[in-house]
Amino acid sequence: MRSTRDAFGAALLALGEKRDDVIVLSADLSKATRTDAFAKCFPDRFIEVGIAEANMIGIASGLSENGFRPFISSFGSFITGRYDIIRCSLAYPRCPVVVAGSHSGMAIGKDGTTQMGLEDVSLMRSLPNMMVVQPSTYAETIETMEAIADYDGGPVYLRLGRQPVPDIDLGSDAFKLGKIRTVKHGYDMTIVYSGCVGHVALGVADTMWHAGITCRILDVHTLKPFDADTLVKPLGILEPIVTIEDHSTVGGLGSIVADVVCKSSPTRVMMIGVNDCFVSSGDPDDLYSSHGITVEKIVERIRSELLL
């Protein structure tokens, strides 16, 4: 089990070895966001700005105008909290900067709400020109980093997790930036997930399979631009749909899916996530259970509400 933030750190180091235009900025969270390996190897291309995320974003904007490929990182909550700076200094001018927001969702547990990225997808996807990606495993993060390294169409929000996650089998679909990855084919319902909850999606599918229900499982590593085609075609929407995310149900994956299906063929979408509330300090397992983001709780809801 390895975390997606670990993969980010490893991929960044590898990228730094290949390309000398890669420059990394930190706001006093280099260890936590795993940019410290890069810092050690390439001190001349590592800029520590201190606890000053807005300044970090602006500096990256200026650097990107001069042939540098900046990667900036902090906790998702803190960095997307500087929304206006990201909007005006990165998104509006389409500056090719990768904004890595770690400690997504509730996994940090005992530190509590102020340290958790719970609305970061909602904020970032609302910005034109902003690509939003959220790999679900260590391996998928490496693939994502390779793909976004050469993307210079604008800024990218890369959502990462703190906690080690199982290296689940993501199926035979190759990774393609901008496309949904079909992890499993099924015929009775669809589970759509994004980020570090892939193992929960697989666990739900497994339980349902034992009850004779097969689930189509879709991994949305690219939240924006969203691959509506794969969800809707080739055989139409396989309803009902359950979305799973470690994020608010306001404006995240659930909202994206509901948006898409509503426009083509209105379908029941059950959204699993943090239901428009802030989260208490606590053991992550307790928090996930309390907010219904566990295999048991999701299966219970599918049975009682979707009657499957």
């Binding site: 000053a52 602006g58 500096i59 001069n66 700076i85 509006y92 001018p93």
Partner: protein
């Protein structure tokens, strides 16, 4: 080629009048600074180490458009498209639609950080000691934004002596005088305490401005607090109403006459 501040002011009047909106007061206060920058420094060539201008107080962009026109880089026709849909001359600087500009700004407080990014890049790319200078023009009201102080704290860390922050201290902001809204105090001594070199000048005196801009780099970033008059150049445009006020046709003619550019 020497640009004339009053000619720039005249273009600003025409642009704002044609558009029906725009910021005359804060554009006028930096006319001498802009005239000097575009006359004395290489802000528009293709050289990698050319000088840069980040207009952090982006609402003053009309005076920059005026300077670009006087340099022959923008046609007179195009000036009349200021603020129209699809125009390259957006209401606040957009350097994607007008690549002659170095940054997209308008939400106050962000430009100094962007300027630092440019200055740092120029330093990192500089091979033979020759390094472009990055000028960042900020408003005094703008100094109330927190991000400005993040940037101010940071710049000396990397010895960015190719960074010059010019504070247009015209004493006035959107809703009134700076000192009544939120007094920013002694900006020079604040910047000095952060590790910058800092000086105050008369920002509407061309000679003082030229002298201040040509100081050689010496290991730290520099702050120039330019004491200016909002609406300088036209006698009746110097009260606090001219932050975003549009002249009537009569006022326009009277202003152009005062600027020596009337018909």
């Amino acid at each position: 080629m020497r640009l004339e501040p009053n000619k720039l002011r005249a273009h600003v009047i025409d642009m704002v009048f044609a558009a029906g909106s725009g910021h005359i007061g804060g554009s006028f206060s930096i006319a001498e600074i802009i005239a000097c920058l575009f006359s004395e420094f290489d802000l528009v060539s293709d050289r990698q180490q050319r000088d840069k201008l980040i207009l952090s107080k982006g609402h003053a962009i009309p005076i920059v458009y005026a300077a670009l026109h006087e340099l022959g880089l923008l046609e007179a026709d195009e000036l009349t498209t200021f603020r129209q849909m699809g125009s390259r001359l957006q209401g606040h600087p957009d350097h994607r639609v007008l690549p002659l500009l170095d940054a997209t700004t308008g939400s106050l407080g962000q430009g100094l950080s962007i300027a630092i990014g440019h200055a740092l890049a120029l330093k990192l790319h500089a091979t033979s000691g020759q390094c472009g200078t990055v000028f960042c023009i900020m408003g005094d009201g703008e100094m109330q934004e927190g991000q400005v102080w993040e940037a101010a704290m940071f710049a000396p860390k990397y010895g960015l002596d190719n960074l010059v922050c010019i504070v247009d201290a015209n004493g006035s902001q959107n809703d009134g005088l700076v000192k009544d809204t939120l007094d920013i105090g002694d900006v020079c001594s604040k910047f000095r305490s952060f590790g910058w070199l800092a000086d105050e000048i008369d920002g509407n005196d061309t000679i003082a401005v030229t002298k201040a801009l040509h100081v050689s780099p010496s290991g730290c970033p520099r702050c120039i607090v330019a004491n200016t008059t909002k609406g300088a150049g036209v006698s009746f445009m110097q009260d606090t109403s001219w932050h975003a006020r549009v002249p009537t046709d009569e006022e326009r003619r009277a202003a152009l006459l005062e600027l020596g550019c009337g018909q």
